[in-house]
Symmetry: C2
Subunit: 179 residues, 2 copies
């Protein structure tokens, strides 16, 4: 069994890091708590005049490097590996790739260990990658392959609750993935 | 038709950059001209005591960024795209990823243009990626998939002449790939 695991919002706490920085940089401005987010892209939840400030934070050096792991993520990855699954980290860099590409590699080495770095697949198009499952918080995964080999399992987040697919988080993954 | 194209030694002149730096740094030491290379990994052609110096060069900042394009590579990529093929750049970073990961992205943006950056797939395991052809100078491509979907077409280089697979370079690719 081969499982592809997304990074932002699945392994690493993208939204936590964003909100922390947003409130530090702009304590006087509104913020949208994670539980009130209804759109996948954080920018889409903010009014037009604040969107450039949202982007500025995502592009800050260290933004991707300093994210905390999602609760239970590191343990789940190691357990899945120990169970003999092939685990790959399948992640899309920002189009403005300058900081995020290297920092994603550094994050994996820091939190999972150097031997996990070889499991990284960096691609804008995940439909091309062969696997049995793709665990991803994005509501819909599209690309050049209209019939990917994997089944998309939604990593449960407030902004994807309207998606009617199999879903899990790191507290219940063993009940969801057929072992 | 989807074609996956390797970077080092196929799009970018890895060996040219190495030899240039090697002769600058170590003018008094032996060097192995490309035509005499019989091993895929450049280090394997050098005596034991020089191997660390070879590695030092590959890890220099700017090594990956400053490679020249292979003759005809940029034109071939644009022609293949114009012919309606899906073209992806499928490349494996060094295990010591620090400089090479970001510099591969910068190279693609500089030499092919910003809209090609989205076509990059960075992976240590190319057998996982679905395509019709993989153009790669490495003699044998292995990974977790024993039956990749692609046919490996060898990009012709002195160190892979013993491989009996379909082969091409950018001067004759139109005769080799079934159009």
């Amino acid at each position: 069994m081969r499982i592809l695991v997304d990074m932002d919002g699945v392994l690493s706490d993208f939204d936590g890091e964003f909100l922390k920085r947003w409130r530090e940089r702009h304590p006087e401005k509104i913020y949208i708590p994670l539980e009130e987010r209804t759109s996948f892209y954080v920018k889409d939840s903010y009014p037009e005049d604040l969107k450039p400030l949202v982007t500025d934070i995502l592009l800050e050096p260290s933004f991707f490097r300093e994210m905390m792991p999602m609760t239970g993520a590191i343990q789940a990855m190691k357990e899945m590996k120990d169970m003999g699954f092939e685990i790959f980290i399948c992640t899309s860099p920002l189009t403005a790739y300058k900081n995020c590409v290297l920092e994603k590699y550094e994050w994996v080495e820091k939190h999972l260990g150097a031997d996990w770095v070889s499991q990284i697949i960096l691609t804008k198009d995940k439909t091309l990658v062969k696997g049995d499952y793709l665990i991803d918080d994005k509501p819909a995964i599209s690309g050049v392959e209209t019939n990917p080999t994997w089944e998309h399992i939604v990593y449960d987040r407030p902004y994807n609750r309207d998606v009617s697919k199999k879903r899990l988080d790191w507290s219940n993954w063993k009940d969801v993935i057929d072992l």
